[in-house]
């Protein structure tokens, strides 16, 4: 599956799930993705660890790019209870825990789930995501966000 047809139709809502912000490009990529989705009138919720949320919140003081912010475990709990869902969920992945979160969102969401993979072990992470059948956009590296931006641009295209 190419990046260009992972999302078939325009989503009304999106969830961005941020894990440990250990890898620098996560915050930049999340702000960019959130901003692009909001520009397309998609209702965005960002869920993450306390540090991951603080990084995006501090960088976006007037909430120009971010939507609603939630605790990562709380949003998973709400999804599991059927109290929250999104048309598309982007799970940021750079370690095996990220793959576990992607698998979990796949199990509890009725929407599309896309892994956004980056960092130094993208090949291993992509293989694990292949095993669970989760589509992924992947860019090796931890500091230069531009290759990942190009992949994100590729996935943000739909028919209507």
């Amino acid at each position: 599956m190419s990046e260009k047809n992972i999302i078939q139709k325009k989503p009304d809502s999106a969830l961005l799930l941020l894990g440990c912000p250990q890898v620098p490009i996560q915050t930049s990529a999340a702000l960019y993705l959130s901003g692009m989705l909001r520009r397309n009138n998609v209702d965005v919720t960002i869920a993450g660890t306390k540090s991951a949320r603080a990084l995006v919140e501090m960088a976006d003081i007037d909430a120009q790019y971010t939507g609603k912010l939630q605790d990562i475990d709380r949003i998973i709990d709400h999804m599991s209870d059927g109290d929250f869902d999104a048309d598309v969920s982007f799970v940021f992945v750079h370690n095996e825990a990220g793959v576990a979160y992607a698998a979990t969102v796949q199990a509890i969401s009725s929407g599309n789930v896309i892994a956004v993979v980056f960092g130094s072990e993208t090949q291993a992470r992509t293989s694990e995501l292949d095993e669970i059948g989760c589509p992924a956009v992947t860019a090796q590296g931890s500091h230069n966000p531009l290759p990942l931006k190009r992949k994100i641009d590729g996935v943000l295209s739909w028919d209507a």
């Binding site: 894990g19 440990c20 250990q22 660890t49 991951a52 990562i72 475990d73 998973i76 709990d77 999804m79 599991s80 370690n95 095996e96 825990a97 990220g98 793959v99 576990a100 979160y101 698998a103 979990t104 796949q106 199990a107 509890i108 694990e128 095993e131 669970i132």
Partner: protein, 95 residues
């Protein structure tokens, strides 16, 4: 699993892969069950790569616990009520 800290748990292993956790449960627990991610144990969602293996020995439950920054831990908690719940709701692999 914010409230996991309130449980009287024993850490069997830490920073392991899901496969390593499943292998430990398969080799060391007398009863083995499988659940899908999203299954609730101790009223919290189990995060993981399916199939997630959980072991039971009497009232003692051995299960994987994942934190975004620290990876997967294998924990052991004694709780008769939750062990019974698992026996009723989870898929039995070995008994």
């Amino acid at each position: 699993m914010g409230c996991i800290e309130k449980l009287n748990y024993e850490v069997i292993d830490k920073h392991i892969s899901f496969k390593e956790g499943a292998t430990y449960v398969s080799k060391n627990c007398s009863e083995i069950y499988e659940v899908e991610p999203g299954f609730k144990l101790f009223d919290k969602v189990i995060i993981g790569i399916p199939p997630i293996r959980i072991g039971i020995d009497g009232d003692v439950i051995t299960f994987p616990f994942t934190k975004p920054c620290y990876g997967t831990f294998l924990l052991r908690v004694s709780d008769a009520e939750e062990a019974d719940m698992l026996r009723r709701k989870a898929k039995m692999i070995k008994h």
